[in-house]
Amino acid sequence: MSKQPARTIKVDILARVEGEGALYVKLKGDQVQDVKLKIYEPPRFFEALLRGRNFAEAPDITARICGICPVAYQMSAVHAMEDACGVKVEGQLRALRRLLYCGEWIESHTLHVYLLHAPDFLGYQDAIQMAKDHPGVVQRGLQLKKTGNEIVTLLGGREIHPINVRVGGFYKLPLRSEFAALAERLKWARDAALETVRFVAKLPFPDFERDYIFVALRHPNEYPFNDGRLVSNRGLDIPIGDYDANFSEEHVQHSNALHSVLKQQGAYFVGPLARYGLNFDRLSPLAQEAAREAGLAPVCRNPFQSIIVRSVEIVYACDEALRIIEQYERPEKPAINIHPRAATGYGCTEAPRGILYHRYRVDEEGTILEAKIVPPTSQNQKTIEQDLGQFVPKFLSLPEEELRWQCEQAVRNYDPCISCATHFLRLEIDRV
């Protein structure tokens, strides 16, 4: 009986992941002994910052948590505050919120598909090397992302973070005429998005599937952004106010982020694959057709193919944006009246990376007493580690450099925003 050699694969810094992270995989022969995805968490600065502030400040403060998805934070925040106040934003104001979210999905997904993920599949070190051989492809990606930016700028204002969003609606509303130029750009973008699906569909995908527990919002008529019940492919079907009763956070020693689990079930998966798998029938016909042509079934369990699903969601977001602009009639008032009351409010919206949960307790004057924020990436942490534990043994025959590269790529499948998972952006990393 020979002693199996232990092998360690260490990637000190994960390239092309938002924020920072480190990956550690310990192998003994063909057994995975340990997987650690390292995340560093400073003190819970933003939850603490929110305490004592007025409820109306929540969208502005939380928008600063994430540079890539400020709209998602604003949406979860305003929905939670409106829930606390016992009001619902409907009609054109609701439609404009969906439009704003379309913009962020287009921006975020396009950045990931073209600049962070596609280089992996084509064997390039990064998007810069890819651009030297495929400048047209990269330019298409940049222009497509820019269209998403234009939606956010038109609705959100021209600052670093969208400034036009408030509890109850907006501060200023665009005129119908202001959307005309954007609509023309979106028609181009929709075609570019379809091109994107065709482009990624041809990429080489490893044969890897897991039977994930998918969790996403589900709505009676719409592909989900802001509204819906929380559902899973294992029978979960709850109002978002029951989130805390069904999900818990475990503090894990090596990672300063908290690992979310579904009580009694364990790790779960949020984001594009989860949304798609639970809401395929809610996609627009064009997006469904694009998915089918790309060879996707209504449920996809291969995380590498998330690049196709993200691209399909870009098609949907362009389609939905055009639909909203087409039917837009400027409401009389930019926001509904809001009166604070002592209550706890819940908001859960679909950020590009998955469900983003906010809970606030406010007093009768609207002062925030307590805040809880659970970002999508921290909810996927456990699943990412489990994926690596399953994935690595299948590819042990690969040379070490290639195996390491595949591990990095496996983490990039999730488009993790580590800065969100730790509630704050951090620069320092410990090189071990």
Binding site: A15, P43, F45, L115, A127, N149, I160, L425
Partner: protein
């Protein structure tokens, strides 16, 4: 694919940073102080550091100065100047950016797509602390005057050397 847009005259100053990460606000604060001292021929912008937005900002600019906090092991408050039109930014200084696609990548992608401004100077000020917080460390606050002075001198120097008519710094 060469950039076909005509470049704007004057100059563009971009301060990069995050106001909630202590010394990471340095670029933003420097930009605000520079804005008080320049004419209408110099645009001053603040940016969170996301690479594609930077590429958009400088796409039509001729002369660009970027200011960002860095962490490279030098003494906090050290100010360094890099000519990005000539060389990529050194990884030893600009490593570990918080966005996956940030300033160094934006410069290289612009270069690969032949979209770099004719002049792109980057000033890095060595940070002490990137922890959550709203304040600059004393060493960085002390360095602000030097940093602002360097950028203003930079704008004046290139103005003079090009025989520019448009004044970018207020006298």
């Amino acid at each position: 694919m060469a950039n076909e847009h005509p470049r704007q005259p004057g100059a563009l100053v971009i301060g990069i940073g995050n106001a909630y990460r202590s010394d990471d606000a340095a670029g933003l604060i420097a930009a605000r102080r520079i804005k008080e001292r320049v004419s209408e021929h110099c645009s001053v912008m603040e940016n969170a550091g996301e690479g594609t937005s930077l590429m958009e900002l400088w796409k039509n600019a001729d002369r660009v100065v970027v200011i960002d906090a860095v962490r490279s092991g030098a003494a906090p408050g050290t100010v360094r100047r890099f000519d990005a039109a000539l060389h990529p930014l050194p990884a030893s200084v600009f490593r570990g950016a918080t966005h996956a696609f940030s300033l160094p990548e934006a410069i290289e992608l612009s270069r690969a797509l032949q979209q770099l401004p004719r002049q792109l100077i980057v000033y890095g000020v060595e940070a002490h602390n990137f922890e959550a917080g709203n304040n600059l460390s004393p060493a960085i606050e002390s360095a602000m005057q030097q940093l602002v002075g360097c950028v203003l001198q930079e704008l004046l120097d290139t103005n003079a050397s090009r025989g520019q008519e448009v004044p970018v710094v207020r006298s």
